[in-house]
Symmetry: C2
Subunit: 223 residues, 2 copies
């Protein structure tokens, strides 16, 4: 049974202060935090299942599962052998840095190398809040359409990586990866774009390579 933690939103003007506290805690315990954001049903939990399977043995992983109210995802994560903490956001549609800090403090972080924060399914508010994470990753799923950067620009601006999930259905949904890249380009010149299918497993290795490189890079950095 995973732990359930009820968190309360912090004062918005103080978010930077809490984000700095999150970073301090992560550096002190040699832990890295990845903020995973997406629409409902884009495949966040399925991706995490594949990621845990791909990295376990090499890295100790925990997942903070943020939901308005549920614990189905935490159970799926624990079935793959990673620690899961179910966070109830009390109606909030996003995680802020204060909530992230409250959730991290329930773990003995010295035991973990890598923490994923599975944010609430939403392309708007999660983009507005720095959680103190080392990396922001978003999933766009093919059925949502290649025009989404036009409608949710901030999310595409702030992310370090766009995982394009359910890529095996691109023909059914007339999804054009080049059009997506063209829509992202004016918003974000640095974001990597990796097409994957968490269902068939296609492209997941490219994401794991990206992640392993990040982890090595972080290991060799001063902090």
């Amino acid at each position: 049974m995973s732990d359930i933690v009820d968190v309360k939103a912090g004062i918005e003007a103080e978010n930077d202060k809490y984000a700095a506290e999150v970073r301090k805690l992560l550096r002190e315990t040699h832990t890295r935090l990845i903020n995973l954001m997406a629409s409902p049903g884009a495949g966040k939990t399925s991706l995490l299942e594949q990621t845990i399977d791909g990295l376990k043995g090499a890295y100790k992983i925990a997942v903070l599962e943020a939901d308005v109210d549920a614990d189905v995802d935490a159970k799926r994560i624990e079935a793959h052998g990673a620690k899961a903490v179910q966070i109830h956001t009390g109606g909030s549609c996003h995680m802020d840095a204060s909530m992230t800090l409250q959730a991290l403090q329930t773990l003995d972080l010295n035991q973990y190398d890598l923490i994923f924060l599975e944010n609430v399914g939403n392309l708007v508010c999660p983009a507005e809040f720095d959680t103190g994470a080392d990396l922001k990753v978003m999933i766009l799923s093919v059925p949502e359409g290649d025009d989404k950067p036009l409608k949710y620009p901030l999310m595409f601006q702030v992310t370090d990586l766009v995982l394009v999930n359910k890529i095996d259905t691109d023909e059914i949904f007339d999804f054009d990866l080049q059009k997506l890249e063209k829509n992202i380009a004016p918003l974000n010149k640095h974001a990597r774009i990796i097409p994957i299918s968490a269902f068939t497993g296609s492209g997941v290795e490219n994401w794991l390579v990206y992640l392993r490189e990040k982890l090595l890079e972080w290991n060799y950095s001063c902090h």
Copy 2:
């Protein structure tokens, strides 16, 4: 070119007061308002295109297109011959009653029978705000999964109707309509569930029949 209206969120504690003002305005002008809610990319605009085509001639329709920042949807709606007002929510992930009132006041409501509010793509916050609408309709798209009521219960509690879009892809996504109905039942005993495909057109007539019946029922009611 559609109008673009920047709206500002009202004080949350006063939302009921604004919702009452919206209702008063709608009754005075014999207009009905439908609040359409869904995740990003679930098919709200595609459904509206089909709905406008199905009802035009019989009813005069306008659409309030709420987006954080974009006007692509308004252009699609106007191409189908309905009036579109593009609302920019200034970063807000939902429409409240005050914002809805500001948007409605830009229209001569006496000219319209039916207004659709295409809410911001989000399953969390839009469910928390009464906009003063006569009917709440949500779209769940098949690729999002049949487990979504477990994760976003409030949305499924407050809606009058669940349109299950992209039903033509149910086998690809292993989507079980009966499982969805079972997940909705404890949350909402009254909600109708209508499977549709805005892409193939399948089931859209059932939605139009539902809508025409509502419009007749409203016409015969005292207000």
